[in-house]
């Protein structure tokens, strides 16, 4: 039983274009595929390529509390893994990025002695860097889930690139229909205004999900955030506010060590 294998794959953001060769092979050859995909065409493709595939959508929305659903999915994955030689869990985007059901499933599988492999996928942050021409290595990059960012008062540096996820559901722990994001966005704006002026440019970003379609990128001022049209896949990117400041003390040490000759 314990030689059964769980392979978790990310299917990327853009339909088919982002599917890696190793992910495709696993989906095709698995004895069973469980998938949690928020895009109907990829669902159709998985069903066509591997008839054993089964959607986890119903479990994702079974209970009101999202965390309960994540645990339910993990239990379901484990149950299937016990009777499946090669089980593939296919997730939209990158399989461990904001994907708590995967983390729960992987940890449970490892605890029970199953083989586990996680294959990376292209996430929306990869798309964002490409579409906005950002090098996260220059200036540094920080990202937070928006509710987590606010509740834990996460420390951040306004001279870094800042990315905030899930801004449409700020403060929402439970599943809710027709949630109005305005209140949460107002709170977020006030919080960001502690470090950025209201005139600071910010970007509302949605990666392209289909080949030949363009990403949706809207540049606005911070003050207009809560008035903007936000969808469930909108990500907020905030460019650095100020130039990097050199730590002269460290630089002096580096120079003395000839690490940096400039």
């Amino acid at each position: 039983m314990s030689c059964n294998t769980l392979v978790v794959v990310g299917t990327g953001i853009k339909f088919m274009s982002h599917l890696t060769t190793e992910a495709k092979v696993c989906i095709e050859k698995a004895d069973k595929v469980l998938y949690l995909i928020n895009e109907p065409f990829m669902q159709e493709w998985i069903k066509s390529i591997n008839p054993s595939s089964e959607s986890l959508d119903a479990l994702y929305t079974k209970y009101i509390d999202r965390d309960d659903n994540y645990k339910l999915i993990s239990e379901f994955v484990l149950k299937n893994l016990e009777s499946t030689k090669l089980l593939c869990l296919a997730i939209y985007g990158h399989p461990t990025y904001l994907a708590q059901p995967v983390i729960y499933s992987v940890n449970s599988a490892l605890k029970k002695g199953f083989n586990v492999f996680i294959l990376p996928g292209i996430s929306s942050i990869d798309c964002l860097f490409a579409d906005l021409g950002i090098d996260p290595g220059t200036g540094g990059y920080q990202s937070f889930e928006a509710t987590d960012f606010l509740i834990y008062n996460r420390a951040y540096n306004s001279s870094c690139h800042l990315v905030l996820w899930q801004i449409s559901v700020i403060g929402l722990k439970k599943i809710a229909k027709n949630y109005n994001p305005k209140k949460g966005l107002d709170i977020l704006t006030s919080h960001l205004n502690l470090k950025y002026p209201l005139s600071h440019p910010v970007f509302l970003y949605e990666a392209s999900q289909y080949p030949s379609l363009k990403a949706n990128i809207k540049k606005i001022q911070l003050r207009d955030l809560s008035k903007s049209n936000i969808s469930r896949i909108t990500t907020l990117y905030i460019p650095p506010k100020q130039e990097k400041k050199i730590n002269q003390k460290i630089l002096k040490i580096f120079r003395s060590l000839n690490i940096n000759d400039n």
Binding site: E39, Y92, W165, L213, R232
Partner: protein, 62 residues
């Protein structure tokens, strides 16, 4: 040709390739409209009325 096959063909094109226009032109009015308007939502609606935006119950993973 199904929309899924059409999108697979598109995925095999390099950006701005001439055949992209030909592929899109061969599609139905609604598909063409979705691409002209850069409207992913419309494209999804063509295959399913139950994708996750519609019931607003699901938060995407990244």
């Amino acid at each position: 040709m199904s929309i899924v096959n059409f999108l697979c063909d598109l995925a095999n094109c390099v950006p701005n390739a001439v055949e992209i226009n030909n592929l899109i032109s061969s599609q139905s009015h609604h598909v063409k409209k979705a691409f002209q308007e850069n409207n992913a939502t419309l494209l999804k609606e063509l295959i399913s009325n139950q994708f996750f935006y519609a019931n607003e119950t699901k938060v995407t993973n990244y």
